[in-house]
């Protein structure tokens, strides 16, 4: 079997919280606190979870938009989290990103042509200006935008079209992996479908691996191969798509799935509604981090943190319970 394209080993990222004059560096935000996973070539792994669970921080750590606190990020057998800026630059070509907001992630002063040419020039991917021009033009075809739009600027495009430009810019560097950080969350329903379909086509066409960070479980289910569910800086469950959606092993996954409103009035069901809010990542709960909201909590959960263990082929969960009870004690 081939080595995975990307390996993340026990990644940690803590942010200091500014204290007052009297209490310097009073505390830290444990944004990501020991996360490990792999992504194979051409695979989509989705990171899901609610706001503040650390999913975007994981994406940013892989892109090395900041230095990590501990752990390793390995691309194709090579550690990239400790590379010098100079060597990192060459690696950057292979991991690109598409952000949530296509309005703020494109430079309003550049034409689409310049936006797309920049990565090609930057990484010396074209030998002549004629080649550069033809690459830029073919990128427009790839993301289904008209070539005659090349001289226009970002403000002349709609949200969906801008997201296509962002995708084209990511593709310009000929990457192996694209981190999509809520890449379709800001788009309207009909446009979202267009972009999701486009991403799936491109993955097939170029054999791209995707790290798809999203809170939208229905979209995730539609396009992913595997899913990792995060809660308060940790992965609580990771499994291939069919297993996790059919039979989640972690109560949090189960609650998340049951909270998603289903666009089918005939399917009105009794959702498992969690009590309370997500605790603060500055002071995460002892033991299992989910125990404050878990309907199945018992003594052991409060004192001992469950390990991420393999339950079925490829399905990992961090819960003391072997099987989840059928009917949870419903909270109101």
């Amino acid at each position: 079997m081939n080595a995975p394209l990307l390996q993340v080993n026990d990644l940690k990222k803590h942010f200091p919280v500014k204290g007052s004059i009297l209490r310097r560096n009073a505390s830290r935000v444990y944004a990501v606190d020991g996360v490990s996973f792999e992504i194979a070539r051409g695979e989509t792994l989705s990171l899901v979870g609610e706001s503040g669970c650390g999913k975007s921080t994981v994406g940013r750590a892989i892109l090395r938009l900041f230095d990590i606190t501990a752990g390793q990020v390995v691309l194709d057998g090579q550690r990239i989290d400790d590379l010098s800026p100079d060597r990192l630059r060459r690696i950057r070509r292979r991991v690109q990103v598409v952000f949530q907001d296509p309005f703020s992630s494109l430079n309003p002063r550049l034409s689409v042509r310049d936006i797309l040419a920049e990565p090609i020039r930057n990484f010396d991917l074209a030998k002549s200006s004629a080649e550069l021009e033809s690459k830029v033009a073919s990128l427009m075809d790839t993301v289904r935008l008209p070539r005659d739009a090349l001289d226009r600027r970002p403000h002349e495009f709609s949200g969906g079209q801008r997201q296509r430009i962002c995708i084209a810019r990511a593709l310009a560097a000929e990457p192996d992996l694209i981190v999509c950080d809520e890449a379709v969350s800001a788009l309207d329903v009909s446009v979202k479908a267009q972009i999701v379909n486009l991403l799936q086509d491109l993955q097939r066409e170029f054999g791209l691996a995707l790290l798809f960070i999203s809170h939208d479980l229905a979209i995730v289910e539609h396009m992913t191969h595997r899913v990792a569910v995060m809660y308060l800086g940790k992965i609580v469950e990771m499994a291939p798509r069919n297993q996790i959606f059919a039979a989640p092993k972690h109560p949090y996954t189960k609650a998340l799935l049951s909270a998603v409103p289903v666009p089918d009035p005939a399917a009105r069901r009794n959702p498992m509604i969690l009590k309370g809010d997500v605790p603060s990542p500055i002071n995460p709960p002892m033991g299992c981090r989910f125990h404050t909201r878990c309907p199945f909590v018992f003594d052991r959960c409060r004192s001992e943190e469950p390990e991420l263990r393999q339950r079925e082929e490829g399905q990992w969960a961090a819960c003391h319970l072997e099987t989840l009870p059928e009917t949870p004690a419903l909270a109101t």
Partner: protein, 329 residues
């Protein structure tokens, strides 16, 4: 008689480059105690519709025409003072962003109490006592302590609970909720939706729910109205709309949303796309507003705007090609 009857509502805005027809001739009604959902994508006019009902549109540059009859009274003919008596009392509103709709320098208790003092003439102590009751009602733990806290001390879900407490303070007849859960996480959204339904039943208010999330619509609405480019294109009881959408736009929308559980029921199919994008509202649209993106469009559609027709019992659609069903039992 319907609680609210809106007829030919037109809300236009004067802008430097012409008139934007944000809402362009929309009629609908809401019955007592009913939940009506208004769905559509950004820019379809759903929020402007709700702001128009409350007369929260600044005039100028905005201009509201048509009629909005609430319990027989035309809201558009009322003086500002009379309108103020209705806002927050008979009709109240919940907005999307609980952080920006709460006043950051007033305690939660003051903000709930304000409504009560103004509309029900309670004194300060009575208003605060009632505020604690309302916080208990919306499921906020330790209400006696929370009532003295400021919005920044609360989580997003709790702030939205406070907004709901404010909106229900005077037991309104109509509650307008404009994307009330869009800014919240799914597990919190589930809590808030359940709470809203619960309270609605207890207070007996009618609800207009404005959302872009078809999942939320399916879970809470009784009747649905679909808007596109400032116009109403379809209206039906919720089960009917999801089972047999008549308008090509509604059909497109429903096909574009992946359903949770899709991987379990056979191969995940490709999502349906609606090609193109919403037309600009700055030019007057002749013909059907959806014609430019519709696979069925003909010259007729481009020239004549289809009227809203009852295609089957209580199911209206504005499309030349949506078939009329023979009146069956």
């Amino acid at each position: 008689m319907a609680l609210l009857e809106v007829e030919n509502l037109q809300t236009h805005f004067r802008t430097p480059d012409g008139i934007t027809r944000a809402v362009d001739g929309v009629s609908f009604h809401v019955d007592e105690g009913e939940t009506l959902a208004i769905v559509g994508e950004s820019g379809c006019g759903k929020s402007v519709t709700s702001m128009s009902l409350m007369r929260l549109i600044p005039e100028p540059p905005g201009k509201i025409a048509g009629s909005i009859r609430f319990r027989g009274k035309d809201l558009l003919k009322l003086s500002d003072r009379e309108m103020r008596d209705i806002r927050g009392n008979d009709i109240s509103m919940i907005f999307q962003e609980p952080m920006t709709s709460l006043n950051p320098v007033l305690t939660v208790g003051r903000q709930i109490g304000e409504t009560l003092q103004l509309h029900q003439g309670l004194d300060k102590e009575a208003a605060e006592a009632r505020a604690v009751e309302l916080l208990t009602l919306v499921g906020i733990p330790e209400p006696a302590r929370r009532v003295r806290e400021y919005p920044h001390q609360l989580s997003g879900g709790m702030r939205q609970r406070v907004m709901i407490a404010i909106s229900l303070a005077c037991s309104p007849k109509l509650l307008i909720a404009d994307e009330p859960t869009t800014a919240l996480d799914v597990t919190i959204q589930a809590q808030i939706l359940q709470l809203m339904l619960d309270l609605k039943r207890r207070v007996g208010a009618a609800v207009i729910l404005i959302t872009h999330d078809l999942g939320v619509v399916a879970e809470v609405a009784e009747r649905v109205m679909v808007m596109y480019a400032g116009r109403k294109v379809e209206e039906a009881p919720v089960a009917d709309l999801f089972r047999s959408p008549r308008h090509p736009y509604t059909q497109g929308l429903l096909g574009a949303v992946p359903k949770l559980g899709s991987s379990l029921t056979g191969a995940a199919r490709r999502l349906a796309e609606i090609p193109g994008q919403v037309p600009s509202l700055k030019q007057r649209i002749t013909g059907c507003a959806f014609a430019g993106r519709c696979a069925l469009a003909t010259d007729l559609c481009r020239e004549v705007a289809p009227g809203l027709e009852e295609k089957s019992s209580r199911h209206f659609a504005a499309c030349h090609f949506a078939k009329k069903e023979a009146a069956a039992a």
